[in-house]
Every structure is written in C-alpha cells, then in structure tokens.
C-alpha cells in the first residue's frame, strides 16, 4: 500500500467514525445552545439507542428485506430515544433548572448509572453481536476500499445534518430555538412555550444519538453497555472542538475528531489515539476557549 493509499484509507475510516461522532455531538451542542447545560447523560442515550436498534433489527431482519429492516430499526430507535430524552428533561432536569449548575452534573451522573445498569440487567453485561443486514459490497477506488456500509453512514449522517440545518434555520421551530438560545427569559415573555421547546430540543438531540448508536453498532459489529461513556466523552470533545452551542461546529468537530483518531491510529500509535483527542481539546480550549466556530464568551460561571 502506497503512502497516498494509506492516507485515503485512513481518511475513509476517519470520516465514518467522524460522522457518528458528529451525530452524537449535535445533541450535546443543541442542548448546551438552548439552556447551557452539559447533558452528560447524552452518551447513555446513544448507548440505549444502539440497544433499541439491536432488538428491532433482530426482530425485523427475519420478516422483511434489509433496507426496510434497517429503516424500521432506525426509526424505532429514534422514536424510543426521543421519548427517553424528553422524559429525562421533563423528570430529571426541569425540576432543578433553578438550582446551581453542578447539581445538573450530579443528576446526569445518576441518570448514567440508571441507564447503564438498566441496559445491563436487560441485555447482560457482555458484548452483544450487532447484526448488520447491509450486504458486504466493496468498491476499490484507486486502491482504497470503500464499503457500502461506509457510504451508508456518510449518506445518513449528511442527510440528517442537512435536515437539521433546515429545521434550525428554515422553520418557525428553529427560529424559536435560536431565539431561546439568545435569551430564554425574553422568549418566555414573548409567549414562546420555552419548556416545550427545551423538551423538543432534547428529543431531537436524542433521536440523532439513536441514529449514531445504530450506525455505530452496524459499523463495529458489537455493542456494550459501557460504550455510552467512551463514545459520549469523545462526542462531547467533538462538540467542544467545534464550539459548543454551535450546530455546524458540532458537525465540523465530529468529523475532525474522527479524522484525528483515524490518522493518529494509522500513522502514530493506536494506543495513544485517545490522548491526541484530549491534548487537542485542551490546547484548543486554552488557546481559543470558544472552539473553532463558537462565538460565545467563555465566562459563564
């Protein structure tokens, strides 16, 4: 394999991982944008999404052709996680909205324990095989192998991001979300149903995390109830990298982090790839605390 081929191969792998990170990072960033809350339980929502998709996929692949099964699993996981995200906001975060910010962090940790252990009890503590009904089609393009699965990940992620961009920039709901991000109190005075809007934001972010979970399971073949923590932390890093609270930033940050890990693992050492991610995060935050595309001032206490 020549240098260029290795480079392109790592690019393809990094893009796949990056697309998944970006989908999860969007949830962190949307919620932070609206209420300045780091929802540390978001990684667990992603993990729950992957398990929901697993169940649906196992049930559906026997009955219907694979594209229908895949679509059914995706939509089912999205729906399930939307309800979960909405419920988390409604029953855990909303009652403590006026409390100090650290409290939300503790709540998130508690929620993470609950979700992780609920899944462990339901599905067992070991790795679960994730069925991948997508036929193994490979294309050799200039010596680089690209699979149908990778193309699917890129396609789904790109479509969802375009959809989200349209939702936020082109609809009344999105306008309300952007307004709430600017000033929650004024929006309330103007009659925007702020609580419902925040609930919808949680539901949307969680649906995207469910897609991330499904694609993650299909790409890597196994899932575990611990995945939410590691992948969630990475996706969160991606959100910060792009500028937390900034939607295009989360997409850029996710893809960048995926590429960074892909190239780091390919060229340097796979052991240290997690360190690269965090070193870049720390350096970036110290140099430009608002992230690559963020414009918020970083002095919220």
């Amino acid at each position: 394999m020549t240098g260029t081929q290795l480079f392109l191969q790592q690019l393809a792998n990094g893009l796949t991982l990056g697309a998944i990170y970006a989908l999860i990072a969007l949830g962190y960033t949307m919620i932070y944008g609206v209420i300045q809350l780091i929802n540390f339980a978001h990684g667990e929502v992603f993990m729950v999404g992957s398990y929901l998709a697993l169940t649906l996929m196992l049930a559906l692949t026997a009955l219907v052709p694979w594209p229908v099964a895949l679509l059914g699993a995706l939509l089912g996981a999205m729906l399930g996680c939307s309800v979960l995200g909405w419920g988390i906001e409604r029953w855990a975060y909303r009652p403590i909205r006026q409390a100090p910010r650290l409290n939300a962090l503790i709540t998130a940790i508690g929620l993470s324990f609950v979700l992780q252990n609920a899944i462990m009890l339901l599905y067992g503590p070991t790795d679960r095989q994730f069925p991948n009904p997508v036929p193994l089609v490979r294309w050799e393009i200039g010596g680089v192998t690209v699979t149908l699965m990778q193309v699917l990940v890129w396609g789904v992620a790109a479509a969802l991001m375009c959809g989200l961009q349209w939702l936020v920039m082109g609809t009344k709901l999105g306008m309300a979300m952007r307004a709430t991000a600017q000033d929650l109190k004024i929006c309330r005075l103007l009659g925007i149903p702020v609580h419902r809007l925040i609930g919808v934001t949680f539901a949307l972010g969680s649906a995207l995390a469910a897609v991330g979970g499904t694609l993650f399971g299909m790409t890597y073949g196994t899932i575990n109830f611990h995945d939410g923590y590691v992948v969630g932390l990475k996706a969160f890093t991606a959100a910060v990298l792009g500028g937390i609270g900034n939607i295009p930033g989360a997409m850029v940050g996710g893809v960048l982090l995926g590429l960074l890990e892909g190239f780091g693992a390919g060229y340097l050492s796979s052991q240290w790839k997690n360190v690269f991610a965090f070193v870049v995060l720390v350096l970036l935050l110290l140099g430009k605390p608002t992230g690559l595309l963020g414009e918020r001032v970083a002095d919220r206490a």
Partner: protein, 311 residues
C-alpha cells in the same frame, strides 16, 4: 448537640468500632470510606471553597499513588518517607493543571480538567517501562512501625490500615476546620462568590486559585500514598473519570463547602453500594436513582446552605 460534641462522638465511635466489630470486610469498606473522605475534603477546597469546577481530580490521586509506588519499588523508600514526595508531586501536578487552566472558567474549566484527567490516566497506561502499563506497579512496600517489641509490618491485615486512614482523616479534618476560619479560606470564598470584587479588594486571585488547587492536590496525594500502601499494587483503572465524578458527587451531596458534608457524602456514597449489596444487581440502579432524587429534593446537599452563588 453542639458541633464539637458531634465531632468528638463521631471520632470516638470510629476509633472504638474495631474493638466491637472485627469483620475484615467491613473494616476494608470503612477504610475505603476514610480514603474517600480525604479525597472529598481535598476536592472541597477546590470546588467547595474556591468554587473551581474540577472534573479530573482522580489524576492527583493517581499521581500520589504512583509516586509512592515507584519510590517504594525502585528505591525501597519506606512508607513514612514516601508520603511527603507523594503529596508534593500531586500538589505540583494540580498547580500545573491550574496554571494552564487559569484562562478558562466555569464549564470550560471543567472540560479542561476533565481532559487533563484523561491524559494522565492514559499516559500512565501507555508509559509501560516506568509505570508497568495496564498491569500497574506490583509489590509496593507496606508501612512498618518500630515499636519496643520489634518491627511491626502492616502487611495485608485490615485493622492497621483502618487506623492509618482514620488518623490521616482526623488530622486533615482538623486542619481543614482551622483552615476554614483563616484568612486564606475567606479569600477563596470571596473568589468563589465574585472574582472581580475579590480582585478589587486586593485578593491575588490567580495565586489563591493555584493555592486551592495545590492544597486539594496534596490531600489527593496523601490519600493516594495510603491507597498504594494498602493495596500493594496500583493499576491505572483505579483512577478513571468515574472516580473523579464520584468524589465530586460526595462534595455536592454533602453540601458544597462543608467539612462534615464532605465526610458524610463520602460515607454515603462509599457505603451505600455496600449496604445495597442485598439488592444485588439492582444496587447501582438504585444508587443512581438516589443521586437523581437527592438533587431534586435537596439541591443544596445535606449540610449546604441555600444562599450564595455557586458555579
């Protein structure tokens, strides 16, 4: 009941307990609780008093544990001489993280410290030649005491470590109690309430922040050295992000800025999973629910006060 009497009763109870109850498993759980309390008291200085949100505290615990472990294994350093370097190394690490993170505040500080915590843990895992990599350091020396009857080796028994950790805790709690009423702690609290006002009345804000982090780090280093001596081995997975958030949860549940709160928080979070052992596989589920419900019904923690702006 006055605070002083409650303190004395609690301390006396903890000191006398092993005379009545010698089950090594229960003593081990309580020893862990005393170590958690040390960590919670240290983090309380950073988060509770100085108001700096820190999510990488386990890193300093790791630095302390590894410093003593390596001194013991490579140089044969006895435990009592290893404590000071362990505390100094952890304090230095904390001050270094603090120096680089002076520019950022609030959520961003939390993220930067989280990043540093992960960097330390992964580096320790990957620096195999020095730290033993994922297998950790083995064969760390146990503490020894020179008594009139000869040398007493702590070995692997539970009781000596129970008293060692308890003695350290009582000493540190006493120091914190004095510290709380000092000029330094009042300066920290002023920084916590309003940095700008604190600077205007002449408090050297950056120095006070670094001092808080170094003090907190030193306590984590002390806990780390005792932990390493007790275990005889240290591995990187003892120092993950979950430990950082657990210690933070102890501080918050007990009530930010409260010394007894930190100890009660450590007692609750350290002992609750053991008490729930009867509930078997449901225990962590119940534990998580308790944390969520606690934040909902008593957001200021057990001994916290409602007033005051906090991060």
């Amino acid at each position: 009941m006055s605070a002083a009497r409650a303190w004395s009763l609690g301390a006396a109870g903890a000191l006398l307990l092993p005379l009545l109850h010698q089950d090594p498993y229960h003593l081990d759980v309580l020893t862990t609780v005393w170590l958690y309390s040390l960590l919670a008291l240290g983090l309380n200085i950073i988060v509770g008093w100085a108001g700096l949100l820190h999510l990488g505290y386990a890193a300093f615990f790791a630095i302390g544990a590894y410093t003593y472990a390596l001194l013991s294994v490579k140089l044969g350093c006895p435990f009592w001489l290893g404590i000071a370097p362990a505390m100094a190394a952890a304090a230095l690490g904390a001050a270094l993280v603090g120096t680089t993170a002076l520019r950022v505040r609030g959520d961003y500080l939390a993220i930067v410290t989280l990043g540093f915590g992960e960097i330390v843990r992964i580096s320790v895992t990957n620096l195999g030649p020095w730290t033993g990599g994922p297998n950790g350091v083995l064969g760390i020396g146990h503490p020894r005491l020179w008594t009139p009857h000869g040398v007493f080796d702590f070995g692997v028994a539970s009781l000596p470590y129970y008293y060692l950790a308890l003695a350290a805790l009582l000493l540190v709690a006493g120091v914190c109690w004095r510290l709380e009423r000092s000029r330094v702690a009042r300066a920290w609290m002023a920084v916590r309430e309003d940095e700008m006002v604190a600077a205007c009345v002449g408090i050297p804000v950056p120095q006070m922040k670094l001092l808080a982090q170094a003090c907190g780090g030193a306590l984590a280093g002390l806990a780390g050295a005792i932990f390493a001596a007790k275990q005889g081995t240290v591995t990187p997975d003892s120092f993950d992000f979950v430990l950082s958030v657990m210690v933070l949860a102890m501080v918050v549940l007990g009530g930010r800025g409260s010394i007894r709160g930190a100890i009660v928080g450590a007692l609750l979070l350290g002992a609750l999973p053991e008490l729930l052992r009867g509930a078997n596989q449901y225990r962590m589920l119940i534990f998580g629910l308790c944390m969520v419900l606690m934040m909902r019904w008593r957001p200021q923690g057990f001994f916290g006060t409602r007033h005051g702006r906090t991060a």
